[in-house]
Amino acid sequence: MEAREGAPRRFLVLAAGDRLAAVEVGWVRKIFRALPVTPLPGARPQLLGLAQFAGEPLPVLDLAQLLGAGPGQPPRFPVTVVIWAGQDKAKELVGLAADAALDLVSITADALIPVGEGIVAAEVALPQGTAEVIDVSRLETA
């Protein structure tokens, strides 16, 4: 997802508990109203379970849990965002369960404040509040 220096990049803004998250649009494959999920016993709390997407099994992660978010407003339109996670040959489809898909925004590099901790690569100030920019290549390290 490299972009020209200074060129705005498009991000999908998601609500997750009491936090906002931003995922670069290039990693997003599809957005659904929350997919039904089959829980897996023994899973870490970040893994909601397995769904099916286009006839294929899809692990679904809880975005609020990944961010360590507290409870937010009751979700009125929860979504599952199907994204590409990982890098290069290890790329795989993963679902992110979020409380809502709020907006598409353009962000320039100079608006991003690097964080470099866990799956959060940066923070950015948006009209809705501060959003945490997710580095989807680091999901498995959460």
Binding site: L40, L50, A85
Partner: protein, 98 residues
């Protein structure tokens, strides 16, 4: 992708499969059971045999958040399931009991 026969069942709120070549026996009834060797695993429901199951390798994300051995993942009748190696059945299905 592999083509092979698998026994499918539901337990612990999820759907599971094991290769039928593992010497699996089904005990049907009100409380169905899956027998693999000397081990007995209670099932909520035995779904039957799938002759052609398209098994996908579990990705790194699933393995990071569900730390159990598995042969892969599949979908049957729009239901995702986990294909387990016979050697992992006890570890997965008797969590917290050992």
């Amino acid at each position: 992708m592999t083509l092979q026969a698998y026994l499918l069942w539901r337990a612990l709120g999820a759907t599971w499969a094991v290769p039928s070549s593992a010497g699996v026996t089904i005990v049907k009834g009100e409380k169905p059971e899956i027998h693999v060797g000397d081990a007995v695993f209670p099932a909520d429901e035995v779904l039957g045999l799938a002759q052609e199951l398209t098994v996908r390798q579990a990705g790194r994300v699933l393995r990071a958040f569900w730390p159990y051995p598995c042969l892969g993942l599949a979908v049957v009748d729009q239901q995702p399931l986990v294909v387990l190696p016979p050697s992992a059945l006890s570890k997965v299905l008797f969590q917290g009991e050992s």
